[in-house]
Amino acid sequence: MSQLILDIKNLTVHFRVYGGYLKVLNEVNLAVARGEKVGLVGETGCGKTTTMKSVMGILPQPPGKIVQGKIFFQGKNTLIMKKSEIEKMRQTGISMIFQDPTAALNPVFTVGQQLYDVVRHSQSTDESHSRLSTQEVSIRALQDVSLPDPKRILENYPLQLSGGMRQRVCIALAIARSKQLLIADEPGTSLDVTIQDQILRLLNRIAVEKQMAIILISHSLGVIREWTNRVYVMYAGSIVEESTTEELFSNPLHPYTRALMDCVPRLTGGGTSEGIPGRIPDYFNPPSGCRFHPRCPQAFLLCYEKKPPLYRTNDVHQVACYLYQEANQ
């Protein structure tokens, strides 16, 4: 793997609640190379967004608490960075777009006011834009996200735009300044399927044009399959499987990944599965060992005792499951 742009090592995050801690993230390891499209897939509450908020430095602390781990962005540990350095990282390094564009935009300011703010804020550090006016940069950003009539949209309030257009505005805000990494947290989930398709196509085009790396967070396996090169599967705060997208979908290994894939209704028909037995574990008192063991049909004694490490089964595939421990020896 060439040059890592983001490298998360053993990240463990707890949340303080009445009477104890919610042990949400459990030693998460995740890496993104320059220009790569990485998917992070998992069900609601598995810790996808918490991981990314930790990266952005927007995890509310308290109640959140980073217990251990390191997050390297371009080789620097962001967890020990000064405030000014984090600020700079957000200006020129990483951007994030969120699931709900309506909540992400301020309803009482026009698109222009919000976009100008972002552009001005970061202008001091970027030479390439300095000769252009704030408005020109903003219009260019809106053109980049294929919004028609950008001059008019600058004067619109978010509520005058449709959901798809709002999400495009959010993307424009994120990429108004060139960035190295874009974190897209369920960018199409609140939109219709035809609009989601447009938004994901747009993100893909921008990533290629601007040579940006993308982390696409989604609960939809279909979205991940179509728009990423490499995937991390997350369950209850741990990465359970990592592989190239092609390999993962043709040869899923972890019992959780397999069960999840069985649950997806197929266009080709074939009925429905019965779902995964049990429910997502309680983070207050998570299961010992592998957190999937209470729901796993193939669990054995070792699974109860110790958290499985990631075992490498081939060049591009790693899985955190004792069923595959021979593969490593």
Partner: protein, 324 residues
């Protein structure tokens, strides 16, 4: 077999400050006992309005709703209690459709007390019935004492389904019952719904935006766009040969998880444009501004329903003009 529900030329208009919104415009369909009709559309297509009008939450602006042959196009207040017993609904968000201050037992007791005429005073018998309903949706009896907030999203939806089943209805309207839930929980609920349907010969009007889900559970699928049903066909035929350009765009946009499914997509038709405001509908065919196969006639005249194969209806000039 006589249909349990027949909707004929249903119209529902809302007047707003910006003009009249034609949310449902001339929609017709029928559902037989034991059949699932999947009503699929994007947000703003009018699918939920159809559901609410059938339930009597809205009074239709025109057309007929025949339930077991009897016209019920009247408001909820005027409907007889016997009718309400036969028609039940499950909403999308169980968090807001269950009363947070009532226990599960109380939530399930109410429909039983209202609709079982003979022994509605017999507390013991009702408690027994509540237990039966809970076991029908595979929830433990202890849940009777619990409040909705202590249940997971999937379990709450199971309670909502149990409440709909309590009165022993013959038709259930399912308004996106699983779209707020994860796939693993969705699979569980869908599995249960199918089991119950087969057991009780229930008719389902399944409102959703998820086409791949419909492929697996619907007997027939109807696609709505801006208040109209643009295509309706038996599920298998529908996915093998979709005719309407909108349907094709929709199927092409679905992210899928295997290459076999990829092959089913009718070419990669890029999705363009957005659903227009229902206040200012485009003239002619409402889909023409987004259509890739537009004909000169499309922005002038609205196409009529055309039966292209037995039971396969499509509303598009591309197909009707070729055959006229």
């Amino acid at each position: 077999m006589n249909p349990v529900l027949e909707v004929k030329n249903l119209k529902k208009y809302f007047s707003t400050s910006k003009g009249v919104v034609r949310a449902v415009n001339d929609v017709s369909f029928s559902i037989a006992p034991g059949e699932t009709l999947g009503l699929v559309g994007e947000s703003g297509s009018g699918k939920s309005t159809v559901a609410y009008t059938v339930m009597g939450l809205y009074q239709p602006s025109g057309g007929h709703i025949l339930f077991q042959g009897q016209d019920i196009a009247i408001s909820h207040q005027k409907r007889k209690r016997v009718l309400k017993k036969e028609l039940q609904i499950v909403f999308q968000d169980p968090g807001s459709s269950l009363n947070p201050r009532q226990t599960i037992e109380k939530i399930l007791t109410l429909p039983l007390r209202l609709h079982t005429m003979d022994d509605n005073k017999n507390i013991k018998k009702i408690a027994e019935k509540v237990q039966n309903i809970l076991s029908l949706v595979e929830l433990p009896v202890e849940y009777m004492e619990k409040y909705p907030r202590s249940l997971g999203g999937g379990e709450k939806q199971m309670v909502a389904i149990a409440r709909a089943l309590a009165t022993n209805p013959s038709l259930i309207v399912l308004d996106e019952p699983t779209s707020a839930l994860d796939v693993s929980i969705q699979a569980k609920i869908i599995h249960k719904l199918i089991e119950i349907q087969q057991e009780k010969n229930l008719g389902y009007l399944f409102i959703t935006h998820d086409l791949s889900l419909m492929r697996n559970i619907a007997h027939r699928v109807a696609i709505m766009y801006l208040g109209r049903i643009v295509e309706m066909a038996p599920a298998q035929q529908f996915f093998e040969t979709p005719y309407h350009p909108y349907t094709r765009m929709l199927i092409s946009s679905i992210p899928v998880v295997s290459s076999e499914e990829e092959k089913l997509k009718p070419g990669k038709i890029p999705s363009i444009g957005e659903i227009p405001s229902p206040v200012n509908l485009p003239p002619g065919c409402v889909f023409h501004p987004r259509c890739t196969n537009r004909l000169p006639i499309c922005d002038k005249e609205e196409p009529k329903d055309f039966e292209i194969k037995t039971g396969h209806w499509v509303k598009c000039h591309l197909w009707s003009s070729n055959n006229n």
